[in-house]
C-alpha cells in the first residue's frame, strides 16, 4: 500500500435499513492533499463521510487510516486517531459558549494538553470567533457556525480534517476566506477531505476529486482535469452510468 | 418466617380430617410489627389444643386437629379481601380470622358476611369496625375507643399541667375517630383543646402544627400516628425547642423496640395505650399461665422484650376459638358461629363475653414508657380508666420540658 495514502476506503456498502445508500465505494486520500467529493443531493456523500467517521457501519468493505483498519471502531476512538469532522449543518453545541465549543474540540486527551496554543491558532485564523468567545453558539449566524465547526476540528490537532458541505450558508466572501484558511491549514501538513455543494469551486480548490452519483463513485481524477460536462451531468442527477 | 401460606387441600365434609382456621394479617408492610408474635403464640396455642389429637367433634365422632393457614394482607385492604376470598372459596376454611387495623379486619369481615363464614377479628378499634355492621358472621375481640380515651384522661389527670391539650391526629381512621371523641370527652373533664386539624399520613414536615401548639403553649399533646410519622414529628418538636409536659401518642410506640427506635432518650416518658401488660391480674384459660408468666415465657424463649400489644390479643384469639370449637357438635358454619357468639370467657383478658354488637370489650389502659431495668424501656400503667381492677402507678412529667 502506498505510503502517502493516509485514508483508504475499500469497497464499502452502507445501508439505511433496507435502503442501499452507498454501493461498492472505494477511494484513497493522499496525505497532505485536499480531496473533494462532488455529487448531487442524496448521492451519498454525507453517508460516506459518516461511515468513515464511524457514525454508520458499512455492511461490507473496510476503511483504513494510516495503515490501521478503523472499520467498525467507535467514533470517539476514530477521532482520537487523528480524524476530525465538521459535520453537515455544522452541529455546534448550541447551549455552550463559543469558547466551550472550542474546548470540546480539544476534548481528546492528546489535544487537551496543547489546547491553549491551538486556541490561539484558531483565533488567529478566525478572529470573529475571538470576538464572540463568550457568546452562546445558538446566537451565531449560519456562516459563523460553519467557521466554529471548522475551528473545532482544528482544536483536536488532527491529521485529517473532513468537512461536509463546507460552504453551506456562507456568503461568497467568506467562502473565499474559508478556502484561504483551508489552504493555509493544509500547508501546515493537515490533509483535507471536503464536500462542497458548489462543484466548480470545490474542483478549483482541491487536488483530487471524486464524483458520486446514486451511491457510487462514477468519476475521479486530478481535479482540474475532470471533464466538465460529465461533472455537470452527474450533478444534475442525470445518471448515464447507471 | 413471613407467612408462607400453608395450603390446605379442602376436603369433603365426610372425610373431614382437620379444622382449618384462615388467618389474614399484615405480615409485611408498614403494619407488620403487629404480627411479630403470631407464629409463636400460634405454636404455643396449637400445641395445647392439639395435645391429645385436637378437638372432639360429635358429628364426626373423632378428634380433629386444628390447623392455621396464614395469609399476608401486606397491610393492604385489597389484598386482604382477595386472600380472605381465596381462603373461603379455595381452601374451604372453617373459620376466618384477622387482626390489626381496619385495613385488614374490615375487608375480611366483609368476605365473611358475603360467604356466611364465621369470622373472628382481634384487635381493631370496635367503633370503626362496627360501621360495617350489623354483623351476622363476624365477631370482634376489640377495644372501644371510649375506653382508650378514658384511660388516657385518667392518666393525664394525675399530672400537674395547664390542662391545654394540643392535637396531633392524622386523618386516618384512628386519628379521626379518636380526635372526634376527645373533642367531646376532654372539655367535660376540664381540658381545653388546641386543634390544628387533621393532616395526611406520611407528612414529613410538622413545622406548622408544632409552631401552632407552641404558640398556644399547650402542656399536653395528644396524637395518634404510625411510628415513622411520629418519629419524624417528635424529632421536629425537639428541633423547634418545644417539649410539652406530656406527650400522648397512640399506635406508634406499642413496643419497647419502637421506643428505642425513636433514638436517643426521645422515648422517655411518652404516654401510649397498652393493650396488654404483664401486670394484668389475669390467667390464660388455654395455657394456664398468668400474664407475668406468659410474658416471661416469651422473653426467655425469644430473648427479646415481650411484644405486649400482640401477645395478649393473639392468645385471646385462640382462647376464644378453643372454647367455641370445644362446644361445637358439628362443623357447620352456623354451628361454629353460634358457639363463638356464646363464648363466655375467662382468660388472659379476664372475664368477658360478646355484647350485642358482637364485640368482646377487651381492656385497654394508658401507660407510660420509662427507662427500664431489663430492657431499655419498660411501660408502667398510669391510667386504668374503665378497668380499675388493673393496678396503676403515677406518671412523670417529660424530662427536658422547657416550660416550668
Amino acid at each position: 500500500m502506498n505510503k502517502d495514502i493516509i485514508l483508504s476506503v475499500e469497497d464499502i456498502d452502507v445501508y439505511y435499513g433496507d435502503f442501499l445508500a452507498i454501493h461498492n465505494v472505494s477511494m484513497n486520500v493522499k496525505a497532505g492533499t485536499i480531496t473533494s467529493i462532488i455529487g448531487a443531493n442524496g448521492a451519498g456523500k454525507t453517508t460516506l463521510l459518516d461511515t468513515i467517521m464511524g457514525l454508520n457501519k458499512p455492511r461490507k468493505g473496510k476503511i483504513v487510516f494510516e495503515g490501521e483498519d478503523i472499520t467498525g471502531m467507535r467514533t470517539s476512538a476514530i477521532v482520537r486517531k487523528g480524524l476530525s469532522m465538521a459535520p453537515e449543518g455544522s452541529m455546534v453545541f448550541e447551549g455552550m459558549s463559543v469558547k466551550e465549543n472550542l474546548l470540546m474540540g480539544a476534548y481528546a486527551p492528546k489535544s487537551r494538553k496543547m489546547r491553549s496554543e491551538l486556541m490561539e491558532k484558531v483565533f488567529l485564523l478566525f478572529p470573529v470567533l475571538k470576538e464572540k468567545e463568550n457568546q452562546l453558539a445558538t446566537f451565531l449566524s449560519g456562516g459563523q457556525r460553519q467557521m466554529l465547526a471548522i475551528a473545532r476540528t482544528i482544536m483536536s490537532n488532527p491529521k485529517l480534517i473532513i468537512c461536509d458541505e463546507i460552504s453551506l450558508g456562507l456568503a461568497p466572501v467568506i467562502i473565499n476566506d474559508i478556502y484561504d484558511k483551508v489552504k493555509e491549514i493544509n500547508e501546515t501538513g493537515i490533509t483535507f477531505l471536503i464536500i462542497d455543494q458548489e462543484v466548480q469551486r470545490s474542483i478549483e480548490h482541491s487536488d483530487y476529486s471524486y464524483v458520486m452519483v446514486s451511491g457510487s463513485i462514477v468519476l475521479q481524477g486530478v481535479a482540474s482535469e475532470l471533464p466538465e460536462d460529465e461533472v455537470k451531468d452527474a450533478f444534475f442527477g442525470i445518471n448515464k452510468y447507471a | 418466617g413471613n407467612g408462607e401460606g400453608d395450603i390446605a387441600t379442602g376436603g369433603e365434609a365426610g372425610e373431614k380430617s382437620e379444622i382449618v382456621i384462615g388467618y389474614v394479617g399484615p405480615f409485611t408492610g408498614p403494619l407488620s410489627v403487629f404480627t411479630v408474635a403470631f407464629d409463636w403464640v400460634t405454636e404455643k396455642a396449637l400445641e395445647e389444643i392439639n395435645a391429645d389429637g385436637g378437638i372432639y367433634i360429635e358429628a364426626y365422632d373423632k378428634k380433629l386437629p386444628v390447623r392455621v393457614i396464614k395469609g399476608d394482607s401486606e397491610s393492604n385492604a385489597t389484598k386482604a379481601s382477595e386472600i380472605a376470598s381465596k381462603f373461603v372459596l379455595d381452601h374451604n376454611v372453617d373459620i376466618l380470622a384477622a387482626s390489626w387495623t381496619p385495613e385488614t379486619s374490615a375487608p375480611v369481615s366483609a368476605v365473611a358476611e358475603r360467604y356466611s363464614k364465621p369470622c373472628l377479628i382481634s384487635n381493631s378499634p370496635a367503633d370503626s369496625w362496627l360501621e360495617g355492621g350489623p354483623f351476622k358472621w363476624s365477631y370482634g375481640l376489640m377495644f372501644y375507643v371510649e375506653s382508650m380515651m378514658a384511660s388516657y384522661i385518667d392518666g393525664l389527670d394525675k399530672l400537674d399541667t395547664n390542662k391545654k391539650v394540643g392535637f396531633l391526629f392524622d386523618s386516618e381512621v384512628d386519628g379521626v375517630t379518636f380526635s372526634a371523641l376527645l373533642k367531646k370527652m376532654l372539655p367535660e373533664r376540664g381540658y381545653e383543646i388546641v386543634d390544628p386539624g387533621r393532616f395526611a399520613m406520611a407528612t414529613t414536615d410538622y413545622t406548622n402544627i408544632i409552631t401552632q401548639l407552641k404558640e398556644a403553649e399547650c402542656d399536653i399533646v395528644m396524637g395518634n400516628q404510625i411510628l415513622p410519622d411520629f418519629t419524624t414529628a417528635w424529632q421536629q418538636f425537639k428541633q423547634l425547642s418545644y417539649v410539652p409536659k406530656a406527650m400522648v401518642i397512640g399506635k406508634a410506640i406499642a413496643y419497647g423496640s419502637d421506643v428505642v427506635a425513636l433514638g436517643g432518650d426521645l422515648g422517655v416518658g411518652l404516654i401510649t395505650e397498652i393493650h396488654w401488660d404483664r401486670s394484668f391480674p389475669y390467667t390464660s384459660s388455654l395455657l394456664g399461665l398468668s400474664c407475668e408468666e406468659f410474658a416471661s415465657l416469651w422473653e426467655s424463649e425469644n430473648n427479646s422484650q415481650y411484644p405486649a400489644t400482640s401477645l395478649g390479643y393473639d392468645l385471646a384469639l385462640f382462647e376464644v376459638l378453643d372454647i367455641a370449637l370445644n362446644n361445637c357438635k358439628d362443623l357447620e358454619s352456623a354451628t361454629i358461629r353460634d358457639q363463638i357468639a356464646a363464648v363466655s370467657y375467662e382468660g388472659i383478658y379476664g372475664k368477658l363475653s360478646f355484647d350485642e354488637n358482637n364485640v368482646m370489650n377487651i381492656p385497654i389502659v394508658a401507660g407510660q414508657w420509662l427507662e427500664g431495668e431489663t430492657w431499655d424501656y419498660e411501660p408502667i400503667v398510669i391510667g386504668p380508666g374503665n378497668f380499675p381492677i388493673i393496678p396503676a402507678q403515677d406518671p412523670i412529667i417529660l424530662p427536658g420540658t422547657t416550660r416550668q
Binding site: A40, F139, S141, E165, E198, F236, G237, N239, A242 | -
Partner: protein, 241 residues
Amino acid sequence: MDPILKVEDLAISFGNNNVLKNVNFELYDNEILGIIGPNGAGKTVLLNILTGTLKPTSGRVTFMGKDILGVRIDERARLGFGRTFQVPRSFENMTAYENVMASAICGGQTTQREAAKRAEEILEFIGLEDKALVLAGSLKLLDKKRLEIGIALAPHPKVLMFDEVAGGLTESEISNILDIVKSLKIHGYSIIWIEHVIQTMLNGTDRVLLLADGYDIICDLPQIVLDSNEVEKVYLGVRKK
C-alpha cells in the same frame, strides 16, 4: 384569475437564523409550481408554514381568499392542504390501505365506506394496489414516496405540496413519479413541487420559483429560471465560462 394560494411578505426566523426574510408568490388554479433552492434555503420550512406546523414571524398566507395563518393544523388539512414529507412519514404500523383510508377520513371527513372506496382508487392510481395490505413501515423507499402521494391525495385536497418526492430515487423511478404528478394536473389539482432533481422541474412544472437567501429570487417558466444567472449563482454553483 385569482390565485388559489397567495403568500405575501412571509418571514420566519429561528433565533438568529433568519431562514425566510421576505417571500412572495402565488399559486394558480391547476398549476404546478416548482420550487428549487439550495439546501437550507427554507423550502421545507415554507411548506411547514403553509400546513401550519410552523408559525411565521410575519407575513400573510391567503388560501382561496381567506387568511389562514390563524387556522389550526388539522383544520387546514380539511380546508384542502395535502402534503408529502421529505422524509416519508407514513403511519408505519398501518397497512398502505389503512394509511390512505385514515387520511381520507381525517382530512376529508368521509365515512369509512367512502374512504375505503377512495383508498382503493388511489392505491390503483399510484400503482400500489398489490401492496395494499403491506405495513407501510416495510415498504421500499419508492413505494413509501408513492404512498406519501397517495396519503396526500386521499382527502381530495385543493392544493398538493410535494417535498422532494423524487429525492433519492433512480432515474426510472423518477420518471414514474413524474408521470404521476403530471396526471394529477390533468385531474385538476394545483401543486407545489419542491425538488432538487432538475429534470423534474424542467419537464413537470408550469413555473419554477427559486428560493435563496430567504427571498423568492425569481419565478418564471422553468427553462427561463434554470437558464438564469441567479440559478447558476446561488443554486447550481457552476459558473459559465
